[in-house]
């Protein structure tokens, strides 16, 4: 089981200190100041990440009743409000493309096409170093070791065609029932081949707020029924922008001399799997959901646009740090061992 991460400021200290004690012990009325950057703040996003992890795998030595502790849920709601406000502020001036149930694929594609953030996969394919590649794998591990789980929260909130479409995708993500083929397992295999620790949560202390925010985004969308449109849009855009980048990541690994099939399988698998998923997600899932609930159209597109926003900021952070020869991971004993 993952160990509790180390606090990075007052909010994460409040949450993580409380989790070491008994449920019900969280002091009421924790002040949540508005951070400078609600989409990347280390303290805010570690606190939120810790709250969400209670719904996934939990932490070693933490009382499992904390998951629904009213005091913690109340604090989490305040953290989420800050995050959500930050998202809306960042997307101020953005208007969802026009669409109906038959054109959601086009609207989602328009959002993907309008993304002008730099391409991490292109950089790695052509010039990236093995050290940079390993860093990306570490950043991604916070999501990829629980790949598909945040979107699975949507399953009981959907019905009929969109639910069937989501299951069609998730069945592949979970290896069609074969634990060795689960995408999270394939990612762990890649980590092992690269000499990284594949244990769930092993690198959380090394991940900056901008990375944790990409995971918190899907947890927030997934855990709230009112965000069911957003989590669907998030998944659709994820799948629609996956095949080609994953081919580039696989090419990068081979160029860097990492040729073991076990190292590249995660990326190779996604090239063809997501060529299926993108259509199912955009047309059958997103379009199907709009057919059932037309009012969710803008929520779906917001979820997609929010993904593009956070992924773009994350990729920019990495590329700028590398260009300036700066670290992209927070320094922890574990991160330093990787860099060495």
């Amino acid at each position: 089981m993952p160990v509790l991460p180390t606090p990075r400021g007052p909010l994460s200290a409040t949450v993580l200190t409380a989790l070491r004690g008994a449920p019900g012990s969280l002091p009421a009325g924790t002040d949540v100041p508005t951070p400078g950057d609600a989409l990347a703040d280390d303290d805010l996003h570690l606190a939120l990440y810790a709250c969400y992890e209670l719904h996934y795998r939990g932490f070693d030595g933490v009382d499992e009743r904390w998951e629904w502790d009213p005091g913690l849920v109340a604090l989490r709601a305040t953290l989420e409000a800050v995050f959500e406000h930050g998202l809306h502020a960042a997307l101020d001036g953005w208007t969802p493309p026009a669409a109906d149930d038959t054109t959601m694929d086009l609207a989602l594609r328009a959002i993907a096409d309008a993304d002008d953030s730099p391409s991490l996969s292109r950089h790695l394919e052509r010039h990236g170093t093995l050290e940079e590649f390993k860093q990306v794998v570490i950043h991604r591990s916070a999501y990829q070791l629980k790949e598909a789980d945040p979107h699975s929260w949507a399953i009981p909130r959907l019905a009929g065609g969109p639910k069937a479409a989501l299951i069609e995708i998730q069945a592949d993500e979970y290896g069609g029932g074969d634990p060795a083929r689960m995408h999270a397992r394939l990612f762990a295999d890649t980590m092992e081949e690269l000499g990284l620790d594949p244990a769930y949560g092993a690198y959380v202390d090394a991940l900056p707020g901008a990375t944790l925010a990409t995971v918190n985004l899907m947890s927030m969308f997934g855990l709230h029924r009112r965000h069911r449109g957003a989590i669907v849009g998030h998944l659709a855009l994820f799948e629609m922008t996956s095949s080609i980048p994953n081919r580039r990541y696989a090419t990068a690994l081979r160029r860097l001399g990492v040729r073991a099939p076990r190292a590249t399988e995660f990326y190779d698998e996604h090239v063809t799997a997501d060529a299926v998923h993108e259509n199912v997600a955009a047309v059958d899932l997103a379009g199907g959901l709009v057919r059932q609930e037309p009012a969710l159209k803008d929520d779906i597109l917001f979820g997609a646009r929010a993904l593009v926003e956070l992924e773009g900021r994350w990729a920019t952070m990495l590329l700028e740090a590398w260009a300036a020869q700066q670290p992209t991971l927070r320094s922890t004993p574990r991160a330093e061992a990787v860099a060495a």
Binding site: D105, A171, D172, S243, I244, V271, T272, N279
Partner: protein
């Protein structure tokens, strides 16, 4: 899903998805292996993993409707698309 059969869906500007019960084999009768219950077969011609779609239809802005094409429809549209495809083909 139609009982016992395969259902083939051309997705707009993308591959053919095949669901249900089917086999995939080359012209010599050798099975073509695939994972999962659904396969996406390339219909744009640009995939580097034929017969499967690998997403390249997007990089080349390939266009095709999901519904059947009308052979009597105007050709003007096709001509202008051809130009656009060439413009957008990445180097």
């Amino acid at each position: 899903m139609s009982a016992g059969g395969a259902r083939i869906t051309p997705y707009r500007d993308g591959p053919l998805l095949i669901r249900g019960t089917f086999t995939l084999a080359d012209q010599d009768g050798n099975d073509i292996a695939f994972r999962g219950q659904t396969v996406a077969l390339c219909r744009c011609g640009r995939s580097r993993q034929k017969p499967f779609c690998d997403g390249m239809h997007k990089a080349t802005n390939w266009r095709a409707a999901s519904a059947a094409q009308d052979p009597h429809a105007a050709t003007q549209d096709t001509a202008s698309r051809f130009v656009r495809e060439r413009d957008s083909t990445p180097g």
